[in-house]
């Protein structure tokens, strides 16, 4: 993926198995969010393709890709600020259901799933960070995705919120939804991922199970000088 003369990502290839959780890690600036942007459709890959269930989706617009089953959250959360929590999720629920009543039903169910039911009438811009991150997830879930891209959903959360979010992720996996997650929180990512891909300077430097990755000298070296998370 080239920007101007600079390759943000080059030669990154991997597969995600259905129903599994893939962790994407790497130092800051490694190209992780760029990768998400390519999968999600915000960028068209300069070279290479993205396939969903063996069907090519790269080059399509984000809303089409969402319709095909990939939903994402943003690293810097993007709530629909002047809308309430409920309205935020209703807006995304309309993708799959017709009619306001059904959209509201799906939205309420999703909100309950992510533990935001009591906050449903609060205006989203006034929410604390932890709840906003949950809202991002709820919104993405309401589009009934096959693949969920989570971009640093755990950053900045306190321990209690972390546990709650991990529970939510586990429940999402139980529903059969595949998850790809970018995270800096090592403990979290090691504990929930089935497989991990490591990026550095836009290239894939390692891939494997959490145990394999933890032992990989290249990975350790890439993180040298960086805090290994909590």
């Amino acid at each position: 993926m080239f920007f101007g003369g600079l390759a943000a990502i080059s030669d990154v290839s991997f597969e995600i198995k259905k129903g599994k959780i893939l962790g994407l890690i790497g130092p800051n600036g490694a190209g992780k969010t760029t990768l998400f942007n390519v999968v999600n459709g915000f960028y068209k890959p300069t070279r290479g393709e993205v396939l969903l269930n063996h069907e090519k989706i790269s080059g399509r617009r984000p809303h089409e890709i969402c319709r095909l089953g990939i939903a994402r959250t943003f690293q810097v959360v993007k709530p629909l600020q002047r809308m309430s929590v409920l309205d935020n999720v209703i807006a995304s629920a309309f993708l799959r259901v017709k009619g306001r009543a059904q959209a509201e039903e799906l939205a309420l169910e999703t909100i309950a799933f992510t533990g935001l039911l009591d906050d449903r009438d609060l205006i989203s811009r006034g929410l604390p960070l932890g709840k906003r991150k949950k809202l991002e997830i709820a919104r993405a879930l309401a589009t009934r995705p096959e693949l969920l891209l989570l971009d640093e959903s755990f950053a900045g959360l306190n321990p209690r919120e972390l546990d709650e979010s991990i529970e939510i992720i586990k429940k999402i996996k139980e529903r059969g939804i595949t998850i790809m997650i970018i995270e800096h929180h090592m403990k979290v990512i090691m504990s929930i991922s089935d497989r991990i891909v490591v990026l550095n300077y836009g290239e894939k430097i390692a891939e494997g199970t959490p145990l394999e990755i933890a032992d990989n000298p290249l990975v350790v070296e890439a993180y040298l000088g960086e805090e290994k998370g909590a």
């Binding site: 617009r61 089409e64 969402c66 600020q81 993405a140």
Partner: protein, 314 residues
């Protein structure tokens, strides 16, 4: 109680002509409802969908000239302009939208400003087609009195009100606001932002065009500098919504009343007449800084300020 306000307003409006007002007052009322229509249309695209158009005069003018040209070139009654403008302005809006909707934020605003001005100059230069700067004059007046004109524009304005309300309460409304609040997030949630922005623009433009066609019939004379005017149409459309209430149903109505009455009041003061653009400019600046969401939009803030003023003056 609050839910019934629109119906109450409509009933009062429908009964107003029986109060025996002078033709001048009826003229003011008609202007109010023309501007209410334009304001509600602009609000759909700007207030709800977040695409701030500085060139709504383009749609108004195309609608006005549709009626005018049908009359001047095809000998038809200019009232045909209203149904015809739905199609013609609709297509025009589609084409224009295709060009400008790919631009974001301030660049969209500038491009729409450009389009309004381009239409004005085009109308001036295509003398054979539009009569150029001389404009088009409708010789036959359908009715001598204002009564039927009033009811027609009242009908158009109320229809617009109910249409906008219905739309915003539906999926479209959620999508529009989502686009306004965060276009990238909306896109990621499966919302085809280009498609919905285009719908908003076409609806907004077409309704404005209908108001333009009505204008031709009511005033009986149009020319490029009147119907494609930047300051007198496009900017006023923005001001009406800003003063009245951005993204509210009745905001444009309130704004139209204030702006029309204010304009007439200023014009009637001797010597102050030429200064009305200065005063409007100052009003615009004040509103933008202190009450950007309009009277209806910023009502809580406004009532707080007013009650504080009342308290301190006691």
């Amino acid at each position: 109680m609050r839910r019934h306000i629109p119906l109450i307003v409509l009933t009062i409006a429908a009964l107003l002509p029986f109060a025996g007002f002078s033709t001048y007052v009826m003229h003011i009322l008609i202007l109010v409802f023309i501007w209410t229509t334009i304001g509600m249309a602009w609000n759909l695209l700007g207030g709800y969908c977040g695409q701030v158009s500085f060139g709504h005069a383009a749609y108004f003018g195309v609608g006005a000239y549709t009626a005018g040209i049908l009359y001047a070139k095809l000998g038809m009654s200019p009232w045909w302009g209203i149904p015809f403008s739905i199609v013609i302005v609709g297509i025009f809006a589609l084409i224009l939208g295709f060009i400008v909707l790919r631009l974001r934020g301030p660049f969209f605003a500038l491009a729409t400003l450009a389009s309004g001005e381009v239409m004005r100059i085009t109308a001036e230069n295509l003398v054979g087609f539009t009569g150029g700067s001389l404009g088009i004059m409708v010789q036959e007046r359908t009715w001598v009195g204002k009564l039927w004109y009033y009811y027609i524009i009242l009908l158009i304005a109320s229809a617009t009100y109910f249409l906008v309300k219905k739309l915003i309460e539906s999926k479209l409304g959620y999508y529009f606001v989502a686009i306004r609040e965060d276009q990238d997030a909306a896109e990621s949630l499966g919302i085809n932002t280009t498609f919905y922005k285009t719908i908003a623009l076409c609806l907004s433009g077409t309704i404005t065009g209908i108001a333009g066609a009505f204008y031709t019939n009511y005033m009986g004379y149009i020319d490029p500098n009147v119907v494609f005017a930047l300051h007198d149409i496009s900017i006023i459309a923005i001001m009406i919504v800003m003063v009245g209430g951005v993204a509210t149903y009745l905001g444009p109505f309130v704004g139209a009343i204030i702006m029309v009455v204010l304009a007439e009041f200023i014009r009637s003061l001797p010597g102050l007449g030429t200064a009305y653009q200065t005063l409007f400019g100052i009003l615009l600046i004040v509103i933008v800084i202190y009450l950007p969401n309009g009277i209806v939009g910023d009502f809580p803030k406004l009532s707080r300020v007013l009650s504080r003023m009342v308290r301190t003056s006691r």
